[in-house]
């Protein structure tokens, strides 16, 4: 797959026009059978943007993402373009405003190919909860080529589309692993930045204290390109940091001029399968080649992370999703009283998984249960943060698997708990708010992609991408 830099060179050298480039991707996306887009924007719609982008190339004044066709997870509000969160309740919703992140991307010249399918309200780990049907992973199990595999979730449409090559890159969101897990299962790069790096303004909220936008790309360098665009201070998001952003491209491909230590948490590796264990062993070898110091580290809180996450995230979701009541916009069920309208709109408008999480969230916040669940979960969350900081006193990065398994079949995992287990390695990082990247590291015995997760300290995306780019070169995954 061509990288952003390569495509920009082609455009600068006039080997291809912005229009031709857009058409190529648009046609591929239109023909795709993987259901990775909820909504495609045809060349006519983007005509003006395409022309102004071309004009900038002609003048040699191209912007950092000029002419690059991107997928946007259908959770970002895009002005005048349907934004559904893959839910029936927002099926016909067209926002009158542009999210901060997508506005940044537009300002940098990129073109939106369309809105990527995802799990409904980003709740899911397989992209099967979407109202618009499941997304299919472009990869096939070589021992069972008939079966269709999930791309992971919730940013499954983004990961599938990037892996299939029908968009150059996509912007997803990650709450408990929603960028990293599908990136891993689709063999692409997925970065979840530090909480507070990217504005949440205009992103349909799932769990406010965890949601973070991030890129899904074919290369670490592309991820740096996109992070440069989407990470900026936004006074409209009180939780968005106002620190000065670095140029994340600067470190990509360069060696470190200081000794680097990577910690591998032994408690993460307790029950992993041989495919996953092999990825970690393999990565260790490459790290040694790169003269990186490897140390064993041990968390004391890992066992509590998943249950903590499944209290805090649903609690916030139960409140964040209260606004979808059928009164001002979105799907409205029939009813003779206000209460009937509420009950019918929400029962008919939300899918099963969303309803499950709203109920869990409502329960853990209820009088008499708050202290036992929500308050306790917040305390554990604090301990998890402390646990990470203790370890970051000794190491620069932490290496873990991204997922406990390869991509599974659509419809295979029926019980919610086994689905939630998919996020076991990604959730602790989310709770701590740390940046983490999933990098394709190799294939399973069934020939399916697997990824490793590199976790950095707060706002250390630049060195995290640098480290990832060095490993990427070692893995040679794309070749």
């Amino acid at each position: 797959m061509p990288t952003i830099k390569e495509i920009k060179n082609q455009l600068s050298n006039k080997n291809i026009s912005v229009q031709e480039l857009y058409n190529v991707y648009y046609d591929k996306a239109k023909k795709s059978k993987l259901n990775s887009f909820n909504h495609l924007l045809d060349p006519e719609y983007n005509k003006e943007n395409i022309n102004s982008s071309q004009a900038r190339y002609n003048e040699g004044k191209d912007l950092s993402l000029d002419g690059i066709p991107l997928g946007i997870k259908d959770l970002f509000c895009t002005k005048g373009v349907p934004t559904t969160a893959s839910s029936k309740i927002l099926e016909k919703f067209i926002p009158e405003y542009e999210s901060h992140v997508t506005q940044n991307l537009l300002n940098d010249g990129s073109l939106f190919l369309g809105k990527n399918n995802c799990d409904e309200f980003a709740m899911g780990s397989s992209n099967e909860t979407s109202f618009f049907g499941p997304v299919i992973n472009p990869w096939k199990n070589k021992n069972n080529t008939d079966s269709q595999l999930v791309p992971g979730g919730s940013s499954g449409g983004s990961a599938s589309a990037v892996a299939e090559g029908i968009c150059v890159a996509s912007i997803g969101t990650d709450t408990g692993g929603s960028i990293r897990q599908p990136a891993s299962l689709c063999g692409v790069v997925g970065l979840k930045p530090t909480f507070g790096s990217c504005s949440r303004w205009g992103v349909v909220a799932f769990a406010s204290s965890l949601d973070q936008a991030g890129p899904i790309t074919n290369s670490v360098e592309d991820a740096a390109y996109l992070l440069n665009s989407i990470s900026s201070h936004d006074p409209n998001d009180s939780t968005c940091s106002n620190h000065k952003r670095e140029n994340f491209l600067e470190g990509v491909g360069k060696g470190f001029d200081r000794p680097i230590t990577v910690g591998i948490p032994s408690d993460y590796l307790k029950d992993i399968n041989s495919d996953i264990a092999e990825q970690i062993e393999n990565t260790k070898k490459h790290l040694s080649k790169l003269n990186v110091n490897i140390v064993d580290v041990e968390f004391t809180t890992t066992d509590f992370a998943l249950s903590t996450y499944y209290i805090i995230a649903p609690a916030e979701a139960s409140s964040n999703l209260a606004r979808y009541d059928g009164i001002r916009y979105g799907y409205r069920g029939c009813g003779n009283t206000l209460e009937e309208i509420y009950v019918n709109s929400r029962s008919e408008g939300f899918g099963e998984e969303v309803i499950r999480r709203i109920l869990i969230g409502t329960y853990v916040l209820s009088a008499g249960y708050y202290d036992a669940y929500y308050r306790k979960a917040q305390k554990v969350r604090k301990l998890i943060k402390n646990d990470f900081q203790r370890i970051y006193n000794e190491v620069d990065f932490i290496l873990t698997p991204t997922t406990p398994n390869e991509a599974f079949q659509i419809g295979e995992k029926l019980d919610p708990i086994s689905m939630y287990m998919n996020d076991i390695f990604t959730v602790p990082t989310s709770l701590a708010g740390l940046p983490a990247i999933s990098l394709p590291s190799g294939l399973s015995k069934n020939g399916l992609p697997l990824g490793i997760q590199l976790i950095g300290n707060y706002f250390q995306e630049k060195s995290l991408l640098q480290m990832a780019s060095l490993l990427e070169k070692e893995f040679c995954f794309n070749e």
Binding site: F76, C77, T83, A85, L90, F93, P95, E96, Y97, S99, R200, W201, G202, V203, V204, A205, A207, S208, S209, P235, N236, D237, S238, T239, A315, E316, S318, S319, L321, A322, R323, D325, I327, R328, Y329, L338, Y342, T362, L365, S366, A367, Y370, Y374
Partner: protein
Amino acid sequence: MNNDWELVIGLEVHAQLKTESKLFSSSPNQFGSDPNSNVNFIDAGMPGMLPVMNSGCIEKAIKTGFALNFQINSYSVFERKNYFYADLPQGYQISQFEYPILTEGFVEIETENEVKKIRLERAHLEQDAGKSIHDIDPKYSFIDLNRVGTPLLEIVSYPDFNSADEVISYLTSLRQILMYIDVCDGNMQEGSLRADVNLSVKKPNAELGTRCEIKNMNSFKFIRQAIEYESKRQIQVLESGGKIDQNTLLFDTSTGETRAMRSKEFAHDYRYFPDPDLLPVHIAEDQIEKVKSTIGELPQQKLLRYVNEFKLEKDIAKIIISEKAYAEFFENLISAKLIHPKLAASWLVGDIFSFIKEKDLQIVDIADKSSKIIQLLEMIEKGTISNKVAKDILIEILQKNKEPVLLVKELGLEQVSDNEELERIVEEALIGEEDNIKKFQSGSDRVLGYFVGKCLKATKGKGNPKVINDLLIKKLK
């Protein structure tokens, strides 16, 4: 009131903060706009919209903290109060719960025979909801979201009140203070100040009774009526052997009765939790100090100063400080130190207030006439015109905005204090009054009044009564 029973009342007062924009959005915070015109994407609860705190509201809260003797907390947290209603677009109200911005304050109120301290438990910032209108169409309800997100400060008292009088005295004083510090416009009709009344009754020395909460009242008159009705109702229920259910009540202003809105079993579980879209509020010491310097004189401080420094009678001073605008008007009158404060005060609460009341005006409506009023008062003070003439001129000023000095000249109303002229008038007045002169000389003071009157009549009211008086005494001796 039945003497065997004691009333126990606590108040929750919602004060709308006087700010340009809403608590968490940039929409204008103003009353009386077209329905749904002061609403932006945040107020309407659109997907992905986030609240951003208006720091002006924090400043208003700090000011209130000083004025009501609160502890101003350096750490407070906005939480979500979750419930569904058509005029609550987010599905939750952002409020403060576990960590309010102000805790433990007090207000002193005057009761019949003592000064009573009303303890305040807390005050917290929160958003107002919109308005549901159910009574303009038989089939549809209408929603106006203009009020959504309007900043409120909810001031919660301890159950320290024992009568409607105490409650009204507190509310009057609270309203006064909030208006003085420019935190709230105090406009009760527009709902800028609303109170929930928690009321129970008990026998002396008994445990607290079960309370009922009467919601959302915005008139002193109705609050008094509601307290009187509800306390009688509770006493009746208890005396006939019944028990009080812990209910939320509405006061029906048309019947003058309270009725149940919802009972305890149907009480909401609001599922409060810290709003993850907002950071905790940290208030630094220097911010508190900065706000402190902007507070100005509070009503009670003014009252003391007026009485001690200006020697005003307490009752008159109280009237003047009762509204900030009155006090400002008064202080403007005396600012050039040309007029004695007592003179200005008596004209203000006398003729000026009567005029305003009669014409149904506000003090601000005549603010532009204050320099002319000052000229008028100066003439009174110097004795250039008589009180009687001054009263007429005041009306001319207030109604027609005329120049007082010109008026006096134009109408020839200048008071005659010229001794020669007055001496001539006095002499004329005594002609043919031999009987009365004798009466005076044999000790009848009443005759003096008769002569003064006669002289004044001869001057068409312009003669200076004091000069005439003195001249008469001299002549008659």
